[in-house]
């Protein structure tokens, strides 16, 4: 089964260890390689990109490495692709140019 890794027990996102397709069953492992949960990917996303482990309403803190990495800029559901289209930084807002970037899984913008 395809795997994603949750870096810290406080995290509400996991990082894909391989590219995922929409509908994929994903095994989420801890840094100790224990299986924590299974999620169904709702979107395609590449290796190194993130998938939601819980529902995150707009404004909710997104946590990775046990720390806040930003806030949900729109409602996020379990299994959703989590990236710049639905998370914003509290530290450094992205420029329009950066926000308009095409990235794997979001070729259509």
């Amino acid at each position: 089964m395809k795997k994603a890794i949750r870096m810290d027990e406080k995290d509400n996102v996991a990082t894909a260890l391989v590219g995922l397709a929409a509908g994929d069953e994903v095994e989420v492992i801890s840094s100790n390689r224990e299986i924590i949960q299974r999620v169904t990917a709702r979107d395609a996303l590449p290796l190194g990109h993130k998938i939601a482990l819980t529902n995150l309403p707009e404004g909710a803190v997104v946590t990775k490495y046990g720390a806040a990495i930003g806030k949900a800029s729109k409602d996020i559901s379990v299994g959703d692709y989590v990236h710049i289209h639905n998370v914003r930084s509290d530290r450094l807002p992205l420029t329009e140019h950066m926000l308009g970037l095409k990235y794997p899984g979001r070729e259509k913008g």
Partner: protein, 390 residues
């Protein structure tokens, strides 16, 4: 736990027995290179900032004092603003041999090279007689650094190195992390790990000052780039947390000063320290060497085939393709984490074991190639003054 190291004066211990042949500036570098030529354990270095770069003096002194160095030959053209004698006096405080060759003083470059060559051979012969002895692991100082980072760095190599950092600190050893630019966005997490209020203020200033240096109006740098976003990094916080992960989770005791007139070495007693300086790989490694770091653990996504003149480099990649392509240039494979075959903890333990083996004399991939890169970072005192950071 123990490793086998070389006892030095002042209760220090080294993991290498290098004879440093240091041209105080680039004019004397070709001569220094020939003086070291063909002598096992002799490594030629210089700083490439010219002969009045007094800002480099604390670094040059620091690397010569590093316990991996058995003795130093200083090579000067003779007319430098940066004179070798005061440098030699400072280095001599470490209780190790220091000699000077002055090319203009000798009056012939060929004779100066012959003289320097004899001095280096003599120092190397004496150094060779020293035997490694068991030393408690708490005396080891390890630096952590990343470069050529990619998507795997924040998932595999850096977190595994973080486990190694925790293990080292738990045995009483010391760990140093430089590169404050990488910490911009991870202020809260690092400050929360400060051992006391003074250390917390040092950490916040360490990051805040660096942000000012890179956001000068008209010469500002983007902290997030297109490659970060395409690799899966969503925010600056995420990027920085992934980078500083290699420092592990233990308390931060403080920030080591690294200035043009003041370079602080790692105090005895173990623990985790940050250091002022730049993130550029070799410059950062030399700064850490000057602070007394023995070995540097280097996380890389893209790979890289360099070494460092003073500190053996333990190179760790988390990228399975890099491992497949460049395994002969890598020291530890962390890419099994990406393949779901290994836990971060188990790879962290492997890095720890490799560091202990290298401390006892195992040659790193860079050393096997005979690569001894060296570069000295020079702080710009004018920028510091203009930004009010002095």
């Amino acid at each position: 736990m123990e490793f086998r190291g070389f006892e030095r004066p002042n209760n220090l211990v080294g993991v290498r027995n290098t004879v440093l042949v240091m041209a105080v500036c680039d004019c004397g570098e070709p001569a220094a290179r020939q003086m070291a030529g063909g002598i096992e354990g002799a490594v030629p270095v210089t700083q490439y900032h010219g002969c009045i770069a007094m800002e480099t003096v604390p670094t040059l002194v620091g690397v010569a004092k590093n316990p991996n160095v058995a003795g130093t030959l200083l090579v000067a053209m003779g007319c430098e603003g940066l004179q070798p004698e005061p440098l030699g006096e400072e280095i001599a405080k470490a209780g190790k041999p220091v000699e000077v060759v002055n090319i203009q003083g000798v009056g012939s470059t060929r004779r100066a090279i012959a003289q320097g060559n004899r001095m280096v051979r003599d120092m190397a012969d004496k150094a060779k007689k020293q035997q490694r002895k068991p030393c408690d692991l708490s005396r080891l100082v390890v630096g952590v650094k990343c470069g050529g980072s990619d998507t795997t760095s924040g998932i595999a190599a850096n977190p595994a190195i973080g486990i190694m950092s925790d293990m080292l600190i738990d045995t009483g050893a010391s760990v140093v992390m430089i590169e404050p630019i990488e910490a911009i966005g991870a202020e809260e997490t690092l400050a929360a790990r400060a051992v006391n209020e003074a250390a917390k203020q040092q950490i916040l200033r360490w990051i805040g000052d660096e942000e000012k240096r890179w956001t000068v109006p008209g010469a500002s740098v983007d902290f997030m780039c297109a490659g970060n976003i395409q690799g899966g990094l969503t925010t600056l916080e995420e990027k920085s947390l992934g980078a500083v992960h290699k420092s592990g989770h233990r308390a931060i005791k403080g920030v080591l000063r690294n200035r043009e007139d003041d370079l602080e070495t790692v105090p005895p007693g173990g623990g985790l320290y940050l250091q002022e300086g730049i993130h550029v790989e070799l410059h950062a490694m030399t700064s850490m060497a000057a602070a007394g770091v023995h070995i540097i653990v280097f996380a890389t996504g893209t790979g890289g085939s360099f070494g460092h003149a003073i500190c053996p480099l333990v190179k760790v990649t988390g990228n399975p393709e890099t491992w497949a392509r460049m395994s002969e240039d890598m020291d530890v494979n962390a890419s099994t984490i990406m393949e779901g075959k290994d836990s971060i903890e188990s790879v962290g333990k492997r890095i720890f074991d490799e560091v202990v083996a290298v401390a006892s004399g195992k040659l790193t991939t860079g050393e096997q190639l005979g690569f001894y890169n060296f570069a000295v970072w020079k702080r710009d005192p004018r920028l510091e003054a203009l930004l009010g950071l002095r």
